[in-house]
Amino acid sequence: MRGRLIWRVARLVERREETPTARTLLFQVPGWPGHLAGQHIDIRLTAADGYSTQRSYSLAAPPDEDRVELTVQQVPDGEVSPYLTQVLGIGDPVEIRGPVGGWFVWRPTATEPVLLVAGGSGIVPLMAMVRARQAAGSRIPFRLIYSVRTPQEIYYAAELRRGAPGLDVTYLYTRVAPEEVTRPPGRISVYDVNTHGWPAEFEPTCYVCGPTGFVETVADILVALGHDPRRIKTERFGPTGG
């Protein structure tokens, strides 16, 4: 798969509810070359009069032949997300370009422990990494810190509850926490990362994804805790990415 990337026709095969406002979409993309966890795709929609627009979405799962999985958050007044989550029909086409991104990726051949810090929909590429680890039978220790507003907004809730050996998951709630949780709702703090992340001496690779403000806060915290900035990889979504 060399040469410049082109737009490929992708057809919707399945749509699943992740939360009341988020859907996982499974597309069939003939000729899909495969991808790495952390990469994303660009999607292009064209209306009947020729008007078109593009968005980018992270791949939510490792490659499965010609199947590509995305999780899309429905944004109020959005141009594309209401269409993808509610209107696009099974068998209908969109155009996809990818996979793209070579920096914010995790390969099962990497040997360092991994810290994943997700803010809202920033969980998507990190879940691809969790799933890639599982698919590869990897024993690399993973810690996931997942910040959400309320428990109802957790993506992949059942799968994360089931867990996996060597994967530790901590949920941080910013608005409403379940009764049994002692931590009061609030934004991620130094204490949270220090308690639930890896110590800097373990030299983990850290992946942080979510809205810009969240990513900057967490990256600053990690540096303050002694992590080498070269081992911190970030992916910022726009303001409604969280």
Binding site: M1, R2, G3, R4, L5, P33, G34, H35, L36, Q39, H40, I41, D42, R44, G50, Y51, S52, T53, Q54, R55, S56, Y57, S58, V72, Q73, V75, D77, G78, E79, V80, S81, R97, G98, P99, V100, G101, G102, W103, F104, V105, S121, G122, V124, T212, K233, T234, E235, R236, F237, G238, P239, T240, G241
Partner: protein, 107 residues
């Protein structure tokens, strides 16, 4: 007739006064280069900061992308996409170091 580039994570608003990071350049640059360029390192001609293209601050001005140095805000890279051509301006950086061999992403 594209509206141009749009942000990662499915950011679905129409323009906002902020920036994303250079991961958003991956697709547009992959239309031009046959390897991923976001993992390449670049050096800002203004302040000398060196970092991956993925760490640049990307401002969307569809149909042009402007990538600025996170240290000093100087323009490092610009990419404009018209129907029959792309313009890539790299005069804000001295050179790109593009990882090859086993470090490179092969898809």
């Amino acid at each position: 007739m594209t509206e141009g580039y749009a942000g990662l994570g499915g950011y679905d608003g129409y323009g906002y006064d902020g920036y994303e990071d250079g991961n958003a350049l991956a697709g547009p640059l992959r239309e031009i280069f046959t390897v991923d360029v976001t993992a390449a390192t670049c050096r800002c001609v203004s302040c000398g900061r060196t970092g991956e293209v993925a760490t640049l601050r990307v401002y969307r001005h569809a149909p042009g992308l402007v990538a600025r140095c996170p240290g000093c805000d100087a323009v490092v890279l610009r990419l404009t996409r018209a129907p029959h051509a792309a313009w890539l301006d790299l005069k804000g950086t001295t050179a790109l170091r593009i990882p090859m061999s086993e470090d490179a992403v092969s898809v």
